[in-house]
């Protein structure tokens, strides 16, 4: 009985020691297990499942070799290879992730380019549309101004000077001699002038200047020229020209355009000049 007990205890220790040797993993196997655990939970490695499976199979072989031949060269070598397979799966996973990022960036780049191109095309289209509208408007305005100038040229002398476009109307056709009341025929003529100026489009500042010949006193001439200028201004305003853009200025016998020694010359000097600041490129002279 005693002998049997000793034998049993001896057997127990022998089995325990043998079992301990079989289950004590080598450092290589411990490293392989840890590496596989890491690979199994690695997000990038999830992109290469075949490689992770290969690592698992390699670890299984190592575990099997460890169970069959513990602490042997084969045990250590298989574990070493298993460790490397797990590291390989993580490296390949990182590569796959980098490729994925590159593809995403390339797609983003392409989308961004398309967006920029589309925006540029839309803006270009809008700019062309606006330009076309602007050109159409400009052409219409130019045509309207040209027609207005043609109308004006039929009823008055029109010329460009440094001070602007000058429309000259003879005093003889506008007023009774020595008076500042407009003749009925003059009203018709001035009405056409007002219409032409309005048809031109934008109204620039306008100065209505009255002139006389040299007959009579300077004071009377100055007063008469002022009254006539104001009469013309009031009439133009009544026809729709903006009052705040028009001023009247009596200039008396100053700035004669002809000799005051002859009846014809004096007739030319008796006049009203409508000076439009800025002038007009379409101004013409018909010699009236």
């Amino acid at each position: 009985m005693k002998i049997s007990t000793i034998a049993l205890v001896t057997s127990f220790f022998a089995v325990s020691l043998g079992g301990c040797a079989a289950t004590t993993p080598t450092p290589e196997l411990i490293g392989a297990r840890q590496a596989y655990d890491q690979a199994r939970t690695d997000k990038n490695a999830a992109l290469v499942p075949d490689s992770v499976l290969s690592a698992k199979q390699s670890l299984d072989k190592a575990e099997s070799m460890h169970a069959d031949h513990p602490q042997s060269d084969e045990d250590r070598s298989f574990s070493y290879v298993a460790l490397r397979r797990s590291e390989l799966s993580m490296a390949l996973g990182a590569n796959a992730k980098a490729k994925q990022d590159e593809s995403t960036s390339a797609a983003n780049y392409g989308n961004l380019q398309n967006t920029l191109r589309t925006d540029a095309v839309e803006k270009l289209g809008a700019a062309r549309g606006a330009l076309a509208v602007s050109e159409t408007g400009l052409a219409a305005a130019n045509a309207r101004a040209a027609r207005a100038m043609e109308s004006l040229a039929k009823i008055a002398q029109v010329k460009e000077e440094a001070r602007g476009m000058v429309i000259t109307l003879s005093g003889q056709v506008l007023f009774v001699t020595g008076k500042a009341e407009l003749l009925p025929s003059a009203q018709d003529q001035l009405g056409q002038v007002a219409k032409a100026l309005i048809d031109q489009g934008e109204i620039n500042p306008i100065v209505v200047e009255g002139y006389t010949d040299s007959v009579g006193s300077d004071a009377n001439n100055l007063k008469l020229s002022q009254s006539r200028a104001e009469a013309v201004r009031s009439f133009l305003v009544s026809k729709g020209l903006p009052g705040d853009k028009l001023t009247a200025n009596g200039r008396g016998k100053s700035n004669p355009v002809a000799s005051n020694d002859t009846p014809d010359g004096r007739a030319n000097n008796r006049r009203v000049e409508i000076v439009v600041a800025g002038g007009s490129a379409n101004a013409v002279s018909n010699g009236k």
Binding site: D73, E74, S77, Y80, V81, R84, R85, E87, L88, A91, L92, A94, N95, A98, K99, D101, E102, S105, A106, N108, Y109, L112, Q113, T115, L116
Partner: protein, 63 residues
């Protein structure tokens, strides 16, 4: 490391220790596979970073 394992494998072959040589060759193969993947990874990472940088540059142009 793969080179070291290869040298050891060659020595084992010379010593007619074919079993050990086979183990060492397996280790060398595993080392080489990992080294290759890491080398490729470096290039792939650089390409990905370059692509990302291009997107950032283009985004700045768009602003």
């Amino acid at each position: 490391m793969a080179t070291d394992a290869l040298a050891s494998a060659q020595k084992a072959i010379d010593d007619n220790d074919n079993d050990r040589a086979r183990l060492l060759l397996n280790q060398a193969q595993a080392d080489a596979d990992l080294a290759l993947a890491l080398a490729r990874g470096s290039a792939d990472k650089k390409s990905a970073q370059d692509a990302q940088a291009k997107v950032v540059d283009l985004s700045k142009q768009a602003q």
